[in-house]
């Protein structure tokens, strides 16, 4: 039981990081969609929002997801060692 609990705990940090990366990505997509729905100027044209921010959110989500996947892989490896016998 102790090994099983350890195994589950090892998966949490990586899973949490992947969840944060996913939430960051979905939140940014929602706000980008809201930007694109609004218009500016006369005649009105669709807004595009700050491009640098889009790139930054995509990059940060990718880095967080990569770090989360690596941590999850480490957690899976350690949990597999503990639960092997």
């Amino acid at each position: 039981v102790i090994d099983l609990l350890h195994g589950v705990l090892y998966l949490l940090p990586g899973a949490l990081l992947l969840t944060v990366a996913g939430a960051l990505w979905r939140l940014s997509r929602a706000w980008i969609a809201m930007i694109e729905m609004s218009t500016v100027g006369d005649p009105p044209r669709p807004q595009r929002g700050p491009v640098w921010a889009r790139r930054w959110v995509a990059g940060a989500a990718f880095i967080l997801a990569a770090a989360g996947a690596a941590l999850l892989a480490l957690g899976v490896a350690l949990a597999a060692i503990l639960l092997a016998r």
Binding site: I35, G49, W52, A61, I63, L64, A67
Partner: protein, 274 residues
Amino acid sequence: MPPARGWRQAANPDRMPGQYWAYGFWAVVGVPLFVAVLSSAVADDVRWIAALAALPAAANHGDRGAGALFAGRLDGPTTTTAAGRLAIAWVGTVTVENHAGKSKNTIEKCRLGRIDHLILAGDDGRRLAIADPGLAALAIPESMAVIGHGTPIYELGEAFQISGIPPPIAERCGLPSEDFAKGTWFYQETWAAPGTHVELAGCRMAGSETLAACPTGPARGHLVAHGVRALVRRMADRTLGMGALVVVVSIFFAAVGGIGALLALRRAAGGGAR
């Protein structure tokens, strides 16, 4: 007065604030660094932990030369530790902790104890002598690095630590009293009471009834009172902790920039961050 520059500037929302280049640089540097550290140090640790966890029980499979776990009760002549406990085996260390600014270093000044003439009264009824690795050869405290180096770990079951060195122990160690004026001094003692159940990860020496460290592999003569599984768990905990620390450092810059960019998107979407 010129307008303030930065990500709060509303006049030119498409212009990336200057400090983001710095965050981007560290994120780009941090991630490869994280991958390098994780793939070298941590992956090596995981291999050693897996090898230690995979050692077969000698009672079930016998020792085929690659090492096994020998379980039983510790027997041998009883002795009294420096702190006055009755023990079969014991190790006491005197350490001093010196602070230099925010960093501190711990130095072992003296090691006392007795780990010779130990017998493992096996759960299967056999009595096997345990070869003395020498007090100086033991790894105290245990760490992941010593498992990789093949240094034996002795975790004898009972342990305590006191700050300040009792005069009889200072005398046994030959430490003059003026030495204690600098730094914080500790005495740690670990001991195995008579009849303590232990596991030994090692090899049975050919043609004899003696257990010793294997010449290669993970079974380097570790003697563990709470079982090798508990040792494996502690080592796995430390490895994940180290991996998590590296991740936290490498994602810090990505997260700071990501949150700032998200707020900028929110403002542009009319969410009203200001």
